[in-house]
């Protein structure tokens, strides 16, 4: 009995063995001065840096600012991408008019326009939000467009036989059919959102996690730099968990998202 519990606990802990092992080796190497603290401070030093920044509230201030920028950019860029995706998906003249332009713009690495953005907006909030919006718009556009175009034609025909009007057709058939694809676009966008924000904040900002990290570099506070990186990782993970939750709810009808509980 106790052996079985041990096996089960062991199995649950197994994936953590390697990270924990690395942390222990890292800590020991720092303590034994095998790694100079300026290059890589010990995990305990990063934890202390976290505690000090958290205590004064500075860390959370920066986090809130970064998250705010990310979400504003996502809302604006995602909204534009989704709207254009729907428009071009259902209306061919719009596709003819806009799609090739969008495809050209899409292939410009959006970080390449940073000099232009700084010229336009300086280092104000708009610059960061603009860059994030540009970055997230395209994955959402492409996936929304693709999702709408690949809705089962048989379902659309059925809906028309059953007398659904155009709006019922859109809301009850086209949009739900495109939703899995739209959410794939959203997850792509979240990755790009953090990436863009990190770059934008390190180049020009006076607040946010990226600023905190760059500022720490000036003063050779490597522990705070590491802390910034970890915070980015955690924010990214949080965004991913959130999308998974949205997917699980919005796509509960989908066989791939159905677990033991079948009834909605």
């Amino acid at each position: 009995m106790s052996a079985a519990i041990l096996t089960r606990t062991g199995r649950a802990l197994a994936p953590w063995a390697v990270p924990i092992g690395i942390l222990i080796i890292w800590e020991l190497s720092s303590r034994l001065s095998l790694i100079p603290p300026r290059l890589l401070p010990a995990p305990s030093a990063v934890a202390v840096a976290f505690w000090e920044n958290a205590k004064t509230g500075v860390l959370f201030e920066h986090m809130a600012i970064s998250a705010g920028r990310a979400l504003q950019g996502l809302a604006i860029g995602g909204g534009i991408g989704f709207t254009l995706g729907v428009l071009n998906g259902v209306w061919r003249p719009a596709e003819t008019a806009i799609d090739s332009t969008l495809q050209m713009l899409r292939n410009v690495p959006h970080l390449a326009i940073i000099p232009l953005v700084i010229l336009w907006f300086g280092i104000d909030e708009e610059a960061k939000i603009f860059l994030v919006a540009i970055g997230v718009a395209f994955p959402i556009y492409l996936n929304t467009f693709h999702g709408i175009r690949t809705v089962d034609a048989g379902l659309i025909e059925m809906a028309r036989v059953y007398g659904l009007g155009r709006f019922a057709l859109f809301w009850r058939v086209i949009l739900p059919g495109a939703l899995p694809s739209v959410l794939v676009g959203l997850r792509f966008s979240l990755g790009i959102m953090w990436l863009t924000l990190i770059v934008a904040e390190t180049i020009s900002a006076s607040s946010g996690i990226g600023y905190m990290t760059m500022n720490a570099r000036e003063f050779l506070q490597t522990d705070v730099v590491l802390l910034g990186i970890i915070v980015y990782a955690l924010l990214g993970k949080a965004a991913d968990v959130l999308t998974r939750a949205i997917e699980g709810r919005a796509l509960s009808w989908h066989p791939a998202y159905q677990n033991a509980e079948v009834r909605p």
Partner: protein
């Protein structure tokens, strides 16, 4: 752009919307609608009339001009090889595609697009996977659809499955949901486009019995498209063989109902006679 204008311009859908000529060439083909007493329990079965109705796709004629009278409440089976024009005929009657020649009348009115009296059961059930069974059945959302849908689901043997997702149903159950969805609007005409073709033999026989019972209760005019001669003989009042776009055989099936599908020499003889023409 207003919402309404935008919706009118959703041209992506327009390929699913048949275009009918404004002046339908049926001036000499008008039919006079006879006065009929409607019976309250039954859905009002509607007669289907074809007058020289044909269909060409470009140069290729898939359906030769046909004259056909299907009286109200009759169960007709159309048998033929694939590519023989069966599905085209069904789609013409459903108003999914317009005829290129002649005219089609349902209840003495020319068909000009999809009509709410006509319902279609497709080979695949075509349920919306993101809606529960009951929401699929009440897809048209008429007032009081929940009660009607629930009762109809019980009628096709799916009591208690109202809130399941279509993904968890078997093929036969999905077709039952599709049948319930067709029945809630009390159709005058039910068009079946090989709906049992993809089912296993046992489920198919079950579905035949269900179909025969439901049709017997409501007497909507029914047209079954199938390549299965045994199925046609088991269900229909009348079997038409469609070959190369023409009617090659038109025979009545007067076997007593309810029909059993095994070891009936009369049925076997009819099947042989039909198979010769397919």
């Amino acid at each position: 752009m207003t919402v309404e204008v935008f919706s009118r311009r959703l041209s992506f859908y327009s390929k699913f919307e048949p275009r009918y000529a404004d002046g339908i060439d049926a001036g000499h083909l008008t039919l006079v609608k006879p006065a009929q007493p409607a019976s309250p329990e039954r859905f009002e079965g509607l007669p289907i009339t074809l007058r020289g109705a044909g269909k060409s796709f470009g140069e290729r004629r898939v359906l030769e001009p046909l004259d056909l009278d299907i009286p109200a409440g009759q169960f007709v089976a159309i048998v033929g090889r694939s590519g023989g024009g069966k599905t085209t005929l069904l789609r013409l009657i459903a108003g999914l595609i317009p005829a290129t020649e002649g005219a089609i009348f349902i209840d003495h009115e020319p068909v000009r697009g999809m009509q709410k009296e006509v319902r279609v059961l497709f080979q695949d059930a075509r349920l919306l996977p993101w809606q529960t069974v009951i929401s699929n059945v009440g897809i048209a959302r008429q007032s009081g659809w929940r009660e009607t849908a629930k009762a109809t689901l019980a009628d096709v043997g799916l009591e208690g499955r109202e809130n399941d997702w279509p993904a968890v149903l078997s093929g036969g159950q999905r077709q039952r949901v599709a049948l319930a969805r067709a029945l809630v609007s009390k159709p005058g005409v039910l068009l079946l486009d090989e709906p049992f073709g993809a089912l296993d033999a046992l489920t198919r026989v079950e579905m035949h019995q269900l179909m025969e019972r439901i049709w017997g209760e409501h007497r909507f005019t029914t047209m079954l498209i199938t390549h299965d001669v045994a199925e046609a003989v088991a269900l229909a009042d009348r079997v038409l063989v469609l070959r190369d776009g023409r009617i090659a055989l038109d025979i009545p099936i007067t076997l007593p109902r309810p029909r059993r599908e095994h070891a009936d020499p009369a049925a076997a003889q009819l099947q042989a006679q039909i198979l010769k023409e397919v």
